[in-house]
Subunit: 405 residues, 2 copies
């Protein structure tokens, strides 16, 4: 159990210390679900009086609520404290090619409501920004969230973010370069805005509410219009020296493969991104090489869901497209597994739509290509959260500060 450490700062700032202790108490309650004041004192190392006072303050401000009664150790049954649902909130927005998603989350990590809107085509930054402003106002209005109950707004983008300024350095698939949400949001005024890379947002989400709770070393790979990853190393998001670690979409897995936007050939992204998979399916349908896809083509232009449907209905040519992409993904995952030795690899976003078709095959590729010592100890799973992971992860960023994380 973590003990509270008393940080010493120059002025002996008691406000800082109080916030620090509040964060630890909130985090302990978050991790345990519910705790009594005496349990809080025991776990944190604070005196019963201090723990009790801090907890009472948090109850008063509405962060906590009382829940039933706990186990008694002889005397009166203690009252348990838990995080109060729908007390404080955060908003997460995921900006992706084709779709903008906004979620309202409460401090328990629960999804309260969600809005999606199409990304303008072409995705002009100013238009996208106006839509985001509307959507944030929309989710806040829907649940009448008062400004003092909003902890912050997180925005996830498929690109490189300067963590010092929140500036989007480059989001190639949206064509954005050197743009800034942070200072332009301003709605509602005074609310902190955090901008984060989409794969890193997803990794935060998996670690906070998804499949990697309590897991220290994992990699979250997202497959959609691009391919990126978020890496947790020793329990913390690993950003690298320049803030953009995890660009696994540009591992070359086939040197005779297609030319990539980055200038190289056969990058993972050119072989497994959803747009590339759909492109292959459309070609197959046009050639008449897949009965299932050709039949679906009559309904409308082939998309990923149609490809998955045809595969699941036994169309071998359709399935072969997904299997081939899983082979390339498996090669890249084997490099990642050898290099990072993670205990889990979570694959998210569009992959989750066809994971059941390919995941066993993908695992077999990794087992075959990575070192046995590494491959035998890594769990490879499809994200249980799917498309929402980056929006939820973005919403978690303002929450993390509350819990001292």
């Amino acid at each position: 159990m973590p003990k509270i450490i008393m940080p010493k700062n120059k002025t002996g700032n008691s406000k800082f210390l109080k916030m620090y202790n509040e964060a630890v108490i909130l985090d302990m309650i978050r991790l345990h679900g519910a705790l009594s004041k005496s349990e809080l004192s025991r776990i944190t190392g604070l005196s019963p009086t201090a723990a009790g006072m801090i907890a009472s303050g948090l109850l008063e401000k509405g962060y906590l609520q009382e829940r039933g009664e706990g186990e008694s150790s002889g005397g009166r049954k203690p009252v348990l404290l838990e995080l109060a649902p729908r007390s404080y909130y955060s908003v997460g927005v995921d900006m992706d090619v084709g779709c903008i998603r906004a979620v309202l989350m409460d401090i328990t990590g629960a999804l309260v409501c969600e809005l999606t809107r199409p990304m303008p085509d072409p995705p002009l930054f100013e238009e996208a920004e106006a839509i985001v402003r509307d959507m944030v106002a929309g989710v806040l209005d829907e649940h009448s969230v008062a400004k003092d109950r909003l902890l912050g707004i997180g925005i996830s983008v498929p690109g490189i973010v300067d963590m010092e300024t929140g500036r989007i350095v480059l989001a190639p698939n949206l064509g954005w370069e050197n743009v800034n949400f942070g200072i332009c949001m301003g709605q509602p005024p005074g609310i902190p805005v955090f901008v984060e890379n989409e794969a890193m947002s997803s990794a935060i989400c998996e670690n906070w509410v998804g499949s990697c709770k309590g897991i220290n070393n994992f990699v979250c790979i997202n497959i959609k219009s691009g391919v990126g990853s978020g890496i947790f190393a020793d329990g913390r998001l690993y950003r690298g020296a320049g803030g953009s670690a995890g660009e696994v979409g540009h591992i070359a897995v086939d040197e005779n493969g297609p030319r990539c936007g980055c200038g190289n050939y056969g990058c993972l992204e050119t072989l497994v991104s959803s747009s590339r998979i759909v492109e292959k399916a459309r070609k197959l349908a046009k050639q008449g090489a897949s009965p299932g896809l050709s039949a679906l083509q009559d309904i409308g232009e082939i998309d990923l869901d149609m490809l998955v449907k045809a595969s699941k209905e036994g169309d071998e040519a359709a399935k072969a497209i997904l299997i081939e992409s899983a082979r390339y993904l498996g090669i890249a995952v084997s490099y990642i597994v050898n290099t990072l030795n993670p205990s889990k690899v979570v694959i998210g976003k569009d992959f989750t739509r066809y994971a059941d078709v390919v995941i066993d095959y993908l695992r077999s590729i990794v087992y075959c290509k990575a070192l046995k010592t590494h491959a035998s100890k890594v769990e490879i799973v499809s994200s249980p959260i799917g498309d929402r992971a980056s929006a939820l992860g973005a919403a978690i960023i303002p929450l993390k500060a509350l819990f001292g994380k």
Copy 2:
């Protein structure tokens, strides 16, 4: 500047706190070179009395010595304290195919003396262990190091180490499996023994005394009989979930390449390890395809140094072997750079012997194959420490504990 944090533990153990404060004081002096007592107080946040008492204790025990006089801020010139050379020691041993190296290091990080002996062929564990015991006794005797002045022994091995027990799980190139130095050393008795992977030892060395002092995100790649790497992430050695991150020697860089011991084809190790490079050079010499190598062959069997000599003397065929290996290495480094976004990649061991022939070419490959955002910000260098890095890194491990690292 790091402030001293007072850790609170159950019993309020003052011995623990004293050791902690001593470690912080020693580390501040190590980082700054020399400090006065008042500077120590200012930097650590300890009261002048407390800082002075701890420093005096360290002086008395011989860890520190006084050096000349510092800058005066008006009054009497303050006495500066620095680490006392040749006061306390540690021993580092590097076990590699062909060679065992033992070094004696003092607390300033200076190399005091060095011994090398051939690794038995075949490298039987019991024989190697007996040699190590002799060598440790040898370096200690040479400088009459008293037992109470020896902080510990570090042993570096080219394999996977269980960090809980110090057991060598697998060292494939030595044929060792499930063997344990730690409990068998016992010479001198009671001295702590630390076993560490060779690439991780080198990374520790580069960070403590080499080319990566103060660098938080870097990768140290060693090329010798095998290829491995040690990763520093956010200022700390990154081990991964199973303790064996950094196995970049098994990134497949040519799917039509030779079969690797791991079962795959075209792993980096099969294309750039020193034994593979020398094998190619010998073939070339036998074929008479390289005038330089053919001439050297008359002196004795071609080795790496002969290949490097021929390359530097303008033999194009010989140089082509090194350039080809640099191309493969560049491909793997580009994956590492994309995935980890380090600010530095240091390449060590045998690579340092021919770095000047290939490093510009290697850099150009990485610049061409990695993302520009990442490649433009990474420095790729040859290790300034070379063959000794793992032995020195192993010696640093017992030192680190003294400095609270």
